[in-house]
């Protein structure tokens, strides 16, 4: 199995907070990797570092063997890294279609071709019916779908999904799970942050658990859910929360 993404001792501080500390992980081509951990563990921060939204205090990021640490977010997108935001960031006054066209334009300079691509992506993500609506008119679950659609339109090799299944009804979540499988089957490598273990664990090939900014354990999903360290981290979180 070949490696798509590799982080080397990634570390970032925010003031006194060590949000990510010495994180060295790798993502294999074609897999669905689960990234889990209690609130504040540093999952979103790690996404922001990989996508280039945050700069690491120290450490390196390699994508397809190339050091991308100094590259800005737009350049990383061009190389094939796309992400969704935990707190959705739709282009509110633009239509759903236009939101997705923005993503497609990284691959197509011609707007007509980009629009056609955007329609295809809306089809895959089940948003076609809402293509002409303004993004601000969408329901919260639809907005999460739009986040995924926009990212997918950039034709990524690596897709980072930050809690796209959170806050959905079980039926909606099930549809989301199917969508993630479909995306992987299209050849996209997926890393997903999710809280609800019952939803993610059957879906992912491998999982990494973060706690207090560090990698706690890493392994097959079945082993992770029984790991005492993981149970401890989650229970500890519950006691403090």
């Amino acid at each position: 199995m070949s490696m798509l993404l590799e982080t080397e001792a990634l570390t970032v501080h925010f003031g006194g907070i060590l949000a990510n500390s010495d994180i060295s992980i790798s993502v294999n081509k074609g897999e669905i990797l689960g990234l889990i951990g209690p609130n504040g563990a540093g999952k979103s921060t790690l996404f922001n570092l990989v996508a280039g939204t945050y700069r690491p205090t120290s450490g390196r990021i390699r994508f397809e063997g190339r050091d991308i640490t100094p590259l800005p977010p737009a350049a990383r997108c061009k190389l094939g890294i796309a992400r969704t935001f935990q707190v959705v960031k739709s282009f509110e006054t633009m239509s759903v279609l236009e939101n997705v066209v923005v993503g497609a334009l990284v691959r197509f300079t011609n707007t007509k071709a980009a629009r056609e691509e955007a329609h295809r992506v809306l089809d895959v993500t089940g948003l076609s019916r809402r293509a002409e609506a303004d993004a601000r008119e969408l329901t919260p679950p639809e907005k999460r779908r739009l986040e995924v659609a926009r990212a997918l339109a950039t034709q990524p090799k690596l897709l980072l999904l930050d809690e796209v299944l959170t806050g959905l009804t079980p039926a909606e979540a099930q549809k989301g799970v199917e969508l993630v499988r479909k995306i992987r089957d299209l050849g996209v490598t997926v890393v997903m942050v999710e809280h609800v273990m019952e939803v993610v664990m059957p879906l992912v090939d491998r999982a990494i658990v973060l706690d207090l900014g560090r990698v706690l354990v890493e392994g097959a999903p079945q082993a992770i859910v029984r790991d005492p360290k993981v149970i401890q981290a989650y229970l500890g979180d519950r006691f403090h929360a």
Binding site: P73, A74, A82, K89, F91, M94, G103
Partner: protein, 325 residues
Amino acid sequence: MATAFEIRRRNQLIIAAVVVAIMIALPLGIKDVYVQNILVLTVMYAALSQSWNILSGYCGQISLGHALYFGIGAYASTLLFVKFGVIPWFGMAAGGIIAAAIALIVGWPCFRLGGHYFTIATIVLAEIGLILFLNWDYSGAASGLQIPVSGDSWLTFTFLRSKLPYYYFALGLAAVVWLVTFFIEDSKWGYYWRAVRENTIAAQSLGVQVFRSKMAAAAVSAFFTAVGGSFYAQFVSYIDPDSVMVFQFSLLMALPAVLGGIGTLWGPALGAAVLIPLTELTRSYMGGGGKGIDLIFYGAVIMIIALARPEGLLSLVSRTRHAPP
């Protein structure tokens, strides 16, 4: 087969053609110079506000310093004409290019500033421009420059007997800037500018080069604003810093778009059609003592829009666009 999108675009062009046809016919029966004057200013501000709208409406970088580019346009063509005998048609192009270049130089540091800081920087820069021109002897400093008007001529773009040639030029400029905006709307820049305006961080993550997008918007916007400035210089045939580079112009470029619908294709024209005649009528009603009245009037307009219709007048009529199927 034409898609719904293409049909919508075609309809926009048809509406524009009809509006232009009406505007061509409009002044034909009007001999009153005062009314002609209002028509010229209305169409000119439609063009200027449309230019402002490119940077501030579409790309979301609110400028309150566009008087700088307006003044540069006015001075560039006038200086070239008065000092070197270059006809204003070339002077206009030169003014546009100089203004675009200055917008890029100014944008280099300013676009690293976020939100309100950017707006404040534009105000300050326009004031610096005003002070520089007030003290620059070559351009006549505070006493300004007079454009020699010998008679009616399209070559030197000066007319004594009628204001109609000015009107038709301003109308042509407004139509051109409208068309530029129309084509930009369905271009990569059009999508990128709106994405930058709506959410810069999300835009970046989708491959949008934010800084470059802002620079492009600023250059296009400044170019047409300066052409408008050159036009205005010809129209009034006498310029000084206080008559072409003051804050009031920056405000008058922003207000029609804000009133009509910021970041929309028709907002600036609609806003200008309402605001400029109202401003002129208020001004003449108040007589010579009404200088401060303008500002009170603008302030009232801003407050009314903010309270009653933040999306502008156009939103009263255009809610059909996103009707569900």
